[in-house]
């Protein structure tokens, strides 16, 4: 009698240790091999776009914190940039520098989480993860100094930032910038040339440049494929045109490249912060804007390079105090487009780390 086999359908999630939140992958397995993947999400859908239509332009800032909750600063920045574009608001120089410093700190924090969880998903029993969290903690403490909050910062406002950095912020920042390179070295020493990490991530989940661009993939995932594209250089906002930094790229676009790109980006972020600290001028941190901003009728698309990719806000104004339409172009959501092509044919263990290396945050996917 011939042995009959059949594919097994497994629901990975919504409660699963490696789905970065409430995310479900309906996976069809042939033994260990993935045949088909269907991402199912929306468990965290809070209707942010709808909610934004009923809040004033300033109030929406708090909603953006809750999108990509591990990088609230860049969310704020993307939103206020769209508002400033729409309403034609000028931003004082000092505020621009503060914005760049805080969003680069946020980028480091976000990449630390991505790296830590990738290693956790590789099976390293929480050690690299805890190391990453230890350093992230220091960044969050800096945020606490800046605005009193650690995760949901709401630091930026249309026309500037909430408040100036306190006196003791600058020495603390200095200390962090000095300590961080050693720490990144240490992390790389643990991971980068580890045989097991190499065996697991090298050549796994390769994404080609053509496919990435065609599928609107942005951020470290795109750069890992070798496409040197970073909005901070391509469309410099704030003061990114006044600082020097490189845009690291990967060689072939596999999981290992995505990890390497993130680690190198952390170094570049430190470079940016260092230069900003040197350049930052004294002065106002917020331009005079009306409490109820009433932009002229029209629309504007403002985008920044968030740690996950291009985070854009498309705002439509009807002249009122609330946006008529607030569309969020969330990189996590759109990067998921290629998930099925990335995962098919790999084994279950690869599925977890490829998915982990895309570094999505469910708050941003579901909005």
């Amino acid at each position: 009698m011939a042995i009959r086999t059949e594919p097994v359908t497994v629901n990975l999630g919504p409660q699963h240790p490696s789905t970065h939140g409430v995310f479900r992958l309906r996976v069809t397995f042939d033994g260990e091999v993935v045949l088909d993947v269907e991402p199912v999400f929306g468990y965290l859908h809070r209707g942010t776009e709808k909610l934004a239509e009923e809040r004033t332009y300033v109030q929406v800032v708090t909603l953006t914190d809750r999108l990509d909750y591990v990088s609230a600063m860049t969310n704020n920045l993307a939103y206020v940039r769209a508002v400033e574009k729409l309403a034609g608001i000028e931003v004082p120089e000092r505020a621009k520098y503060l914005r760049v410093i805080s969003s680069e700190l946020q980028r480091i924090a976000s990449h630390l989480i991505a790296t830590g969880f990738l290693l956790q998903e590789l099976g390293a029993f929480a050690t690299p993860l805890m190391y990453c969290f230890r350093e992230r903690e220091r960044i969050l403490e800096l945020f606490e100094m800046l605005c009193g909050a650690r995760i949901t910062v709401s630091y930026m406002r249309p026309g500037g930032v909430l408040q100036d950095a306190p006196e003791d912020f600058w020495p603390a920042l200095d200390e962090l910038v000095k300590a961080m390179p050693q720490y990144i070295e240490e992390l790389e020493g643990l991971i980068t040339s580890n045989e097991i990490v190499l065996a697991r991530t090298k050549d796994v989940g390769v994404l080609t440049a053509e496919k990435a661009i065609n599928a609107s993939v942005t951020g470290p995932m795109l750069r890992a494929t070798g496409v040197q594209w970073d909005l901070r250089k391509a469309d410099p906002h704030e003061v990114y045109d006044r600082v020097e930094f490189d845009v690291p790229i990967g060689a072939i676009g596999d999981t290992y490249d995505r990890y390497l790109v993130r680690v190198q980006e952390m170094r570049q972020s430190l470079r940016i912060i260092e230069q900003c600290v040197k350049q930052i001028p004294k002065g106002d941190i917020r331009s005079r804007t009306a409490y109820f901003i009433r932009p002229p009728v029209g629309d504007a698309y403002g985008a920044v390079e968030s740690p996950k990719g291009e985070l854009g806000f498309y705002l439509v104004s009807d002249g009122g105090i609330a946006p008529y339409r607030c569309k969020i172009r969330s990189p996590s959501f759109i990067n998921l487009t290629v998930l099925r092509d990335l995962l098919a044919g790999w084994k279950m263990a690869d599925l977890i780390i490829i998915f982990g290396s895309t570094d999505i945050v469910l708050g941003e996917v579901d909005r």
């Binding site: 999400f41 929306g42 859908h45 209707g47 776009e49 709808k50 496919k211 661009i213 065609n214 599928a215 609107s216 993939v217 496409v227 594209w229 391509a234 469309d235 410099p236 045109d241 629309d299 698309y301 985008a303 291009e310 854009g312 498309y314 439509v316 008529y324 339409r325 569309k327 172009r329 959501f333 759109i334 998921l336 487009t337 290629v338 579901d366 909005r367």
Partner: protein, 147 residues
Amino acid sequence: MAKALAGTDVARRINETFSGVALESNKTDVWVAPDDLHRAAKFLHDDKELDCAMLLAITAVDYVERFELVYHLRSMRKNHTVVIKTRLSGREEPAISSVTDIWQGADLQEREVWDLMGIRFEGHPNMKRVLLWEGFPGHPLRRDFVR
């Protein structure tokens, strides 16, 4: 600095190849008819000069008397952006042709538009709700949606 191509220039280029497709244009945007959208998108993607290799975002805006679909496109070789828009009338399941065959990146975004705004994309391989569950009554981002 990335350049936002002037809508008038883009419209002229489109009309050079397909005359009459670009209906109107202003400093930033180009309007096309819903039936011509796929043709125009294909042209923008393939044209050497415009070279819109990446579809940034598809947005649907509900102006009550009409829907407006906004396509943000980007050329990564030339570092410019193009915005094309199209107006859809009718509130009972308006439909437009899908651009998933041109940009794979439209896949989830079109599903999202269908989910939240109720605009059906014809030719999409998997036109299902994405954020809400199947059977959810109505499309919540519409202006006239009430719980």
